[in-house]
């Protein structure tokens, strides 16, 4: 029997409020970082997966999860880092994609990291400000590994594009 006062659903609701440290308009649940919640031997086991292998936000997310539990009187928490299945931008739901766009980040198109697109990015990326597709890539890597830097040739704004992976 476990003495943790929260149900799995309550825990899920609680952790779903934690914003991504780098993109605070979406949560770790929106991004698909939060994978699994279970209770074993009076301990909450939370499985999370990194977006990118070197994502520096993971440590902060772990700390936020532990803090959230502590605020609700739960001390026995174990964080489990999982790598399978590998994180994909396909896990970001439509609602979260719209939040990204409003925030000024062009949301990811459907995942196309495959051999046919190895040497070039052929997709048309819409400007998150004016929605024009008359845009060009400035750099494959933007402010973080998960984003590329684009420029809109109509409204002249530079913007981040959340790369599909």
């Amino acid at each position: 029997m476990n003495s943790i006062s929260l149900s799995i659903d309550e825990i899920r609701n609680l952790l779903s409020q934690i914003p991504d440290p780098e993109i605070p308009v979406i949560t770790i649940a929106d991004l698909g970082i939060l994978r699994e919640i279970s209770i074993q031997d009076n301990t909450c086991i939370i499985s999370i997966t990194p977006t990118y292998s070197g994502c520096p936000a993971m440590k902060m997310i772990e700390d936020e999860i532990i803090k959230k539990f502590r605020e609700n009187g739960v001390e026995n928490v174990k964080i489990n880092m999982v790598y399978h299945p590998a994180w994909t931008t396909d896990w970001i739901n439509d609602e979260a994609k719209e939040k990204l766009r409003i925030y000024g980040i062009a949301p990811p198109e459907k995942s196309t990291v495959n051999k046919s697109s190895l040497m070039s990015e052929t997709k048309e990326i819409a400007c998150p400000q004016c929605r024009s597709k008359n845009t060009e890539m400035i750099s494959q890597f933007g402010s973080t590994a998960c984003k590329a830097l684009y420029r809109c040739k109509d409204c002249k704004e530079a913007f981040d594009y959340f790369k599909c992976i």
Binding site: S53, G54, Y83, A86, T88, F141, G142, T144
Partner: protein, 252 residues
Amino acid sequence: MTTQEALFNYCLRLADNHLILGHRLSELCSKGPVLEEDIACTNISLDLIGQANALLQYAASIENNGRNEDDLAFLRHERHFYNSLLSEQPNRDFAFTMVKQFLIDAFNYYLFDELKKSKDLTISALTTKGHKEITYHLRHSSTWIDRLGLGTDESNLRTQNAINELWRFTDDMFVMDEVDKMLITDGIATDLNIIKTKWQNTVNGAFEKANLKIPEKVWMQYGSKQGKHTEHLGFLLAEMQHLHRAYPGVKW
């Protein structure tokens, strides 16, 4: 040698390639030729060090002897590192940095693609994830091979010089020994001859397109899989390991 020992060694090879190349790229932080490249190189560095971290964690769990990933990264000596000779070469000019990066990105791209099928589930998971990131790395460095090769006479010359100097370290990446043989039999590791054919096709194609030539009659250098390195690795480790050795157990 037991399978466990072979697997430990194999994980170190994969991890060290990434760790050392990642460290080299991190040297460009705040020193990139333009702001966008500074950011790109450090982001790629972060991917590589992140992948190395997970691989070293796995290596430590296989060894099961009280060492963790930090001990493996910061407390091993030069002769116990198994990264390729190519990965430890200094950055020098940007053409040199990108030629080195391209040759290794193409190697990693095909190696990790094969290792997705590994019967070792952790290696399969880590390489499946890593391969997605490496795809972007290869796209970045191959774009630069094109731009530098087809740019000005000066950029073509410097890129060609880099290829001429670095080519002697390329065969070292494909050396196989009893570690590989043992793990290939178990369906864990990949036959590097298969990787070499794919790698050669990609490299030949990219260089030909960019008006660059592979040098002939090069005296190849070997040794990384026995922990025998060029003089550059020792200096790199001195810098990379300094903090951890000077302040054992230090935390941010």
